[in-house]
C-alpha cells in the first residue's frame, strides 16, 4: 500500500468577500476512516464540495494516490474514484432499488438496458456491503432510511471508489441502524476504501474513526490519531476562539414568567422540551442543526401541531394553538428562512411589515394607505433600512435589510414575546450588531426574547439563560454564567455525562 491515498494542501476557496476556506490541509491513508470535525460554518461542506467536484478551489493542490486530482464536476470526481454520500439522500423514490443503484451507470446493449448484467452488478455492490438480502425490485421509497442509505452506498461502490465521503450519515438513523452502518464502514475499510466521515456527534467519530482533522473558520486547526485525542481536546480545538465584543450588555432584570412550555413534542423531530421564559429575559436555544430547536419554536407558535405537552401563555386565555391565536396573544415569530417563509419577496416593504395587523390600519376592511406607509416609513428610518422608500419591493433589498423589516413586523405588531430563529443568519456584520442591540433593548424594556442560534459566541454574548437541545430533547437549561462554548458543544453533541 502506498502511504497516502488522498492529500490536500493549502486549499482556499472564497465566495465573493467571504473566505470559506482559508488554508486547509488533509492527509488520508488507504483503508483509513478519517473524521472531519468542526462547528456549523467551519467550512466542512465547502471542503467536501471542492473534493467531490461541485466547487473548484481557488488555490492549493489535491493528490489522489500520488496523482494530481482536479475534478471538473461531481461526475468526473466519481470516475476518478471519489464518491460522496450526502446527508439528504438522493434517491429516485419511485424507481426500484436496482434502478437506483445503477442510475447513470446502466449496463446497456445497443441502447437497451441489459437486465441480466445490471442485476449482477447491483448484486455485487450489495454483496460488498454485506447486504445481499435487499430486494432489488422494490421501489426505493418503500425502504427504511437506513436501507435507503445502503442503496446509496451501493451506488457509490459501483465505480470502485478509492475515497468515500459520508456527510452526517447517522443524523436520521436509530442507534441500532448506526451500529449496522458502522459494520458496513468496517467492511469498506478492510477492502481498502478510505472513508471521510463527517459528523457532529463526537462520540461516534471516536468510535469509528482512526484519525481526525478539525476545521475552524476555514482552517485546519488540528489533526491526529483518534485514540490519542480526548473529547475535551477535540471540543477545545473546535471552539477555541476569542469572543469579540459585539454584544451589548445592558443589565436585564428578568421578571415574571410569561411563557411556559411543558413536555412539548411534535412530529417528526421534537421529542420533549420543558421551559419557562420570563419577561425581560433573553433565552438562548443552542444545539446542532437538526436538534429540534426550530421545531420547538414552531410548536410553541402553533405552526406545527403539538403531539404532546402544552404551551401556556401567561395572562392570555387558553386558545387553539395556531399562528393567528399566537399573534393575538402577543407572540411574534421570526422565521430562519427569510426567502421561503419569512417574507413575501415580490411585495412591498410596507405590506410585509404590516401583514399581521392590516385589520387595524383602517376601518371596515379598508386599509388607510397613507397611514400604512407612514407606519412602515417610521420603522425604515428607526432601523436604518437601506431602501428607496417603504413602497419598494422587499426582494430588492440586501439580506440584512430584509431581516430588519422582518423583525420590524414583530415590533410593530407589537409582540411582547419574540421567538427569533437564527436572527442573524446570512446578514452582514453591521446589521448583526444592530440586531444584537435591538434584542438587548427589547429585554431591557421588559419583553421576553427567545433566540435560536448555531453560533456559540452569539448565544453566550446575547442570552441570559441558555438551553441546549440534542436529538429532539431540551437537555439542560442554565444561566449563562454556567455555560462555556465547550460545555454547550459537549451537551449538543451528546457527549455530556
Amino acid at each position: 500500500m502506498s502511504a497516502v491515498r488522498l492529500r490536500l494542501d493549502g486549499i482556499q476557496k472564497s465566495f465573493g468577500a467571504t473566505r470559506a476556506l482559508k488554508r486547509v490541509s488533509l492527509e488520508i491513508a488507504p483503508g483509513e476512516v478519517h473524521a472531519l470535525i468542526g462547528e456549523n460554518g467551519a467550512g466542512k461542506s465547502t471542503l467536501m464540495k471542492v473534493l467531490s467536484g461541485a466547487h473548484r478551489a481557488d488555490a492549493g493542490t489535491m493528490q489522489l494516490s500520488g496523482v494530481a486530482y482536479e475534478p471538473e464536476n461531481p461526475h468526473d470526481a466519481r470516475l476518478k474514484g471519489v464518491a460522496m454520500i450526502y446527508q439528504e439522500l438522493n434517491l429516485a423514490l419511485h424507481l426500484s432499488a436496482q434502478e437506483n443503484i445503477l442510475l447513470g451507470a446502466e449496463s446497456t446493449r445497443l441502447g437497451w438496458v441489459d437486465g441480466r448484467s445490471s442485476r449482477a452488478r447491483a448484486q455485487a455492490a450489495l454483496a460488498q456491503l454485506g447486504h445481499e438480502g435487499l430486494d432489488l425490485d422494490r421501489a426505493a421509497g418503500e425502504f427504511s432510511i437506513a436501507e435507503q442509505q445502503i442503496i446509496e452506498i451501493a451506488r457509490a461502490l459501483l465505480i470502485q471508489p478509492q475515497v468515500l465521503i459520508m456527510d452526517e450519515p447517522t443524523s436520521s438513523l436509530t442507534q441500532a441502524d448506526t451500529a449496522k452502518l458502522f459494520a458496513t464502514i468496517q467492511r469498506l475499510r478492510q477492502q481498502g476504501v478510505s472513508v471521510i466521515y463527517i459528523s457532529h456527534f463526537l462520540e461516534e467519530c471516536r468510535q469509528i474513526a482512526d484519525r481526525f482533522t478539525v476545521l475552524k473558520d476555514g482552517e485546519t486547526v488540528g489533526s491526529g490519531l483518534m485514540a490519542e485525542a480526548s473529547l475535551d481536546h477535540l471540543v477545545t480545538l473546535m471552539t477555541g476562539r476569542e469572543v469579540k465584543d459585539l454584544y451589548p450588555r445592558t443589565a436585564h432584570a428578568p421578571g415574571a414568567v410569561v411563557l411556559e412550555v411543558k413536555s412539548a413534542a411534535s412530529e417528526p423531530r421534537l421529542k420533549r422540551a420543558t421551559l419557562q421564559i420570563r419577561a425581560g429575559e433573553v433565552f438562548g436555544l443552542g444545539g446542532l442543526i437538526g436538534a429540534g430547536r426550530t421545531d420547538l419554536l414552531r410548536a410553541i407558535f402553533g405552526l406545527d401541531e403539538l403531539a404532546a405537552g402544552e404551551v401556556c401563555v401567561v395572562g392570555a386565555p387558553a386558545s387553539e394553538n395556531g399562528p393567528r391565536e399566537r399573534w393575538s396573544q402577543g407572540i411574534g415569530f421570526l422565521s430562519e428562512n427569510r426567502k421561503e417563509e419569512g417574507l413575501m419577496l415580490n411585495q412591498s416593504i410596507a405590506d410585509n411589515l404590516t401583514l399581521t395587523k392590516m385589520n387595524r390600519l383602517g376601518r371596515w376592511g379598508w386599509i388607510n394607505g397613507p397611514r400604512q406607509r407612514a407606519v412602515a416609513q417610521s420603522w425604515v428610518e428607526a432601523l436604518r433600512v437601506k431602501c428607496q422608500d417603504a413602497g419598494q419591493t422587499i426582494g430588492q433589498l440586501s439580506g440584512g435589510n430584509q431581516q430588519k423589516v422582518a423583525l420590524a413586523r414583530l415590533l410593530e405588531h407589537p409582540a411582547r414575546i419574540f421567538l427569533l430563529d437564527e436572527p442573524t443568519r446570512g446578514i452582514d456584520v453591521g446589521s448583526k450588531a444592530q440586531i444584537y442591540q435591538l434584542v438587548s433593548e427589547l429585554a431591557a424594556a421588559g419583553k421576553a426574547v427567545v433566540v435560536v442560534s448555531s453560533y456559540l459566541p452569539e448565544l453566550l454574548g446575547l442570552c441570559d439563560t441558555i438551553g441546549v437541545m440534542c436529538r429532539g430533547e431540551l437537555l439542560a437549561v442554565r444561566p449563562r454564567g454556567e455555560w462555556t462554548e465547550a460545555e454547550i458543544m459537549r451537551v449538543a453533541t451528546g457527549s455530556a455525562g
Binding site: G322, P323, E341, M344, N346, Q347, M358, I367
Partner: protein
C-alpha cells in the same frame, strides 16, 4: 423617480400592446374605413364584456396563486340556469341574483375542495370543468333553452347603429372593474390575496386564515363567472349548454397578457382589462380583415407567448 418610471413601464407594457394592435389594424385598406370608428369600438367593448368580467374573478384567483379552468363551463351552466328561470316567468332581478348565486356556489365548491382537501387548483377545476359542463347539458336536456323575451336580452345589444349609447353590460363591467381594482389595492381582503399568492407560508406565519381566504376568493370569483354567464345569456337570447367552450383560456390569457404571474402575487385589474381588450381587438380586426378563424387562433396564441416572454424580460431586468 426611477421606481415610478419602472412602475409605469410595468403598467404601460400591456397598454402599448393595445395601442400597437389598434394601429396595426387601422392601416390596411380592408379595414381602414370602419375599424377606427365609434361604432366599431362600441362592438369591441361589447364583445369584451364577458371575457372582462371573467377576467376580474380570474385576476383575483391568479394573484392568489391559483387557477380556475372551469370558467367556460360555469358560464354555460349559469346561463342555462338563468334561461330556465326566465322561462318559468321570473323577473329580471331575481334571475340576476340566482345566476350570480349559482356561479358563486360553483366557486364555493371549487374553493372548498381546493382548500379543504389541499389539492391543486389545476386538478380540482379541471374536474369541475367537466362536472359543470355535463350538468349544464343535463339541466337543459342537451338542447338550447329558449324563452319568449326578457329585458335581459337588451343588456348586450349593439344592434342599433344610430344609438351612441353603450349597452348596459359595458357599464357593468367598467364599474365592477373599478370596484375590484380598489378592493385588491386598498382592502385587507385584497392585500391578503396578494400575500397568499406571493408566499403562502408567510401568510400562514402571519396569522392569515388561509383556508377561509381561499374559499372566499373562489366564491367571489365564481360570482363574477355567474355574472359573465348572465351576459352570455343576454347576448345569445337563449341558454346554450354548449356555449363558451374554452373561454377560460381567453380569460386566463387576458390576465396573463395584463402582466399577472401564474406564480401568484403579481397582477392588476387594469392590466387584465387591457389584456381582455387586446384579445377582443385581435378578433374584431381579424374578422374585418377577412382572415379565417384558424388564422385568428394562431395569432392569438402567438400574442400570448410573446406577451409573457416580454413580461419575463422586463421582470428579469428588475431583479
Amino acid at each position: 423617480m426611477k421606481a415610478v418610471l419602472k412602475k409605469s413601464l410595468a403598467q404601460g407594457g400591456p397598454f402599448l400592446g393595445l395601442i400597437l394592435v389598434i394601429v396595426l389594424f387601422s392601416i390596411p385598406a380592408e379595414t381602414r374605413e370602419f375599424f377606427l370608428t365609434y361604432n366599431n369600438f362600441k362592438i369591441i367593448f361589447t364583445q369584451t364584456v364577458i371575457v372582462a368580467i371573467g377576467a376580474l374573478g380570474m385576476t383575483m384567483i391568479i394573484v392568489s396563486g391559483g387557477i380556475d379552468l372551469s370558467v367556460g363551463s360555469s358560464i354555460a351552466l349559469t346561463s342555462v340556469t338563468g334561461a330556465m328561470l326566465i322561462q318559468r316567468g321570473w323577473a329580471p332581478l331575481p334571475v340576476v341574483l340566482a345566476t350570480v348565486g349559482a356561479g358563486a356556489l360553483i366557486g364555493l365548491l371549487n374553493g372548498a375542495a381546493i382548500a379543504g382537501l389541499r389539492m391543486t387548483p389545476f386538478i380540482i377545476t379541471l374536474g369541475s370543468l367537466g362536472v359543470a359542463r355535463g350538468s349544464a347539458k343535463w339541466l337543459a336536456d342537451n338542447q338550447t333553452v329558449n324563452y319568449d323575451s326578457s329585458p335581459i336580452n337588451g343588456w348586450m345589444t349593439t344592434a342599433d347603429p344610430f344609438s351612441r349609447a353603450l349597452p348596459t353590460g359595458v357599464w357593468v363591467a367598467l364599474g365592477l372593474a373599478m370596484l375590484t381594482a380598489l378592493v385588491l389595492r386598498n382592502t385587507v381582503f385584497g392585500r391578503h390575496i396578494f400575500a397568499l399568492g406571493s408566499n403562502e407560508a408567510t401568510a400562514r406565519l402571519c396569522g392569515i386564515a388561509t383556508t377561509r381566504l381561499k374559499i372566499s376568493i373562489y366564491t367571489l370569483a365564481g360570482a363574477f363567472f355567474g355574472l359573465a354567464g348572465l351576459f352570455q345569456l343576454s347576448r345569445l337570447r337563449q341558454g346554450d349548454p354548449t356555449v363558451a367552450v374554452g373561454l377560460e383560456l381567453d380569460i386566463i390569457a387576458s390576465v396573463i397578457i395584463g402582466g399577472a404571474s401564474l406564480n401568484g402575487g403579481v397582477g392588476t385589474i387594469l392590466g387584465s382589462m387591457i389584456g381582455a381588450l387586446i384579445m377582443a381587438v385581435l378578433r374584431n380586426g381579424s374578422q374585418q380583415m377577412g382572415w379565417p378563424t384558424y388564422f385568428q387562433e394562431i395569432i392569438i396564441g402567438l400574442v400570448i407567448i410573446v406577451a409573457v416572454f416580454l413580461d419575463r424580460l422586463r421582470q428579469g431586468r428588475q431583479t
